[in-house]
């Protein structure tokens, strides 16, 4: 399976989300030769609900284009948050 990995280097927070959205838009409009989009959150523990909303929007976009989506590198706290928000029911998460 061809996969494309997007790495979140800065915080997944309201001040950064607009830039990430542009990046995602570029991926979905300019690249088609992939079956799976992986979001890498390694080393990232700054997150807010705008960041969570961003992840949900990427998941929905990927699903709409029949691409797989998963999150990797999320630390225990971020995984706890996603489970609290029941996001683990929608997409796969791994360390």
């Amino acid at each position: 399976m061809n996969h494309l990995k997007m790495t979140i280097k800065d915080g997944l927070t309201a001040n950064n989300v607009a830039a990430y959205q542009k990046e995602v838009e570029q991926i979905f409009t300019e690249i088609d030769d992939f079956n799976e989009l992986i979001l890498d959150l390694a080393g990232n523990d700054n997150i807010d609900s705008t960041g969570v909303t961003f992840i949900i929007s990427v998941f929905k976009r990927a699903k709409g284009m029949e691409k797989h989506f998963r999150v990797i590198g999320a630390n225990a706290d971020v995984q706890m948050l996603f489970k609290l928000m029941k996001l683990d029911q929608f997409f796969e998460m791994s360390d």
Binding site: G11, T13, A14, N15, N16, D45, N46, I47, D48, S49, T50, V52, T53, A76, D77, V78, M80, L81, L84, M85
Partner: protein, 171 residues
């Protein structure tokens, strides 16, 4: 004891800066913090400050957000005030037993208070898709704060979030 107090203009960039400063000061205190607790504080603090910038002050750069962090024994109290028009108080019941005081005429919080569904709002003539998205964001944020076991009190344009560290230690 006041740990941190600041007033800043309404931008997400300054929220990020102030949240980082606040976390640094909290970490510097002689407390055996669990990373889980600091993560929760960071999330809730950002949520409330973002809310003040976006919904309270409507991104008006001339309007400011006030933040104060205090400790009283095992309690950590986060007070956030914006320059919005102020909000009426209403009290919604909570299955977690937390007293949530919900503003009555803030559209998003009122919707939570009234327990309206997103589906219902989508069919409402005066709601746009972006309104629905904003509602989803606010609903998600408020519900998450409650689940993270912060007590929330809202008076006018001031929100006070309290975390009891003694309960954290038992987790």
């Amino acid at each position: 004891m006041v740990i941190y107090e600041t007033t800043f203009h309404s931008t997400f960039e300054l929220v990020d800066e102030k949240a980082k400063e606040a976390l640094m000061l909290l970490k510097a205190r002689e407390i055996d913090w669990m990373s889980h607790t600091l993560f929760k504080i960071n999330f809730v603090l950002r949520e409330l400050l973002n809310n003040a910038v976006e919904h309270g002050n409507a991104f008006d750069p001339q309007k400011k957000v006030f933040l104060r962090i205090e400790s009283r024994d095992q309690l950590f109290i986060f007070t956030i005030r914006d320059e919005g028009s102020g909000i009426c108080m209403d009290v919604a019941s909570s299955d977690a037993g937390v007293a949530e005081k919900v503003p009555r005429h803030d559209k998003t919080y009122h919707a939570i208070c009234a327990n309206e569904t997103l589906e219902r709002l989508k069919h409402s003539a005066d709601e746009t898709e972006s309104d629905v998205d904003a509602l989803a964001d606010r609903r998600r944020g408020l519900e998450t704060i409650r689940r993270l076991e912060f007590e929330l009190n809202i008076t006018g344009n001031t929100i006070v979030a309290t975390l009891d560290l003694s309960k954290e230690a038992m987790q």
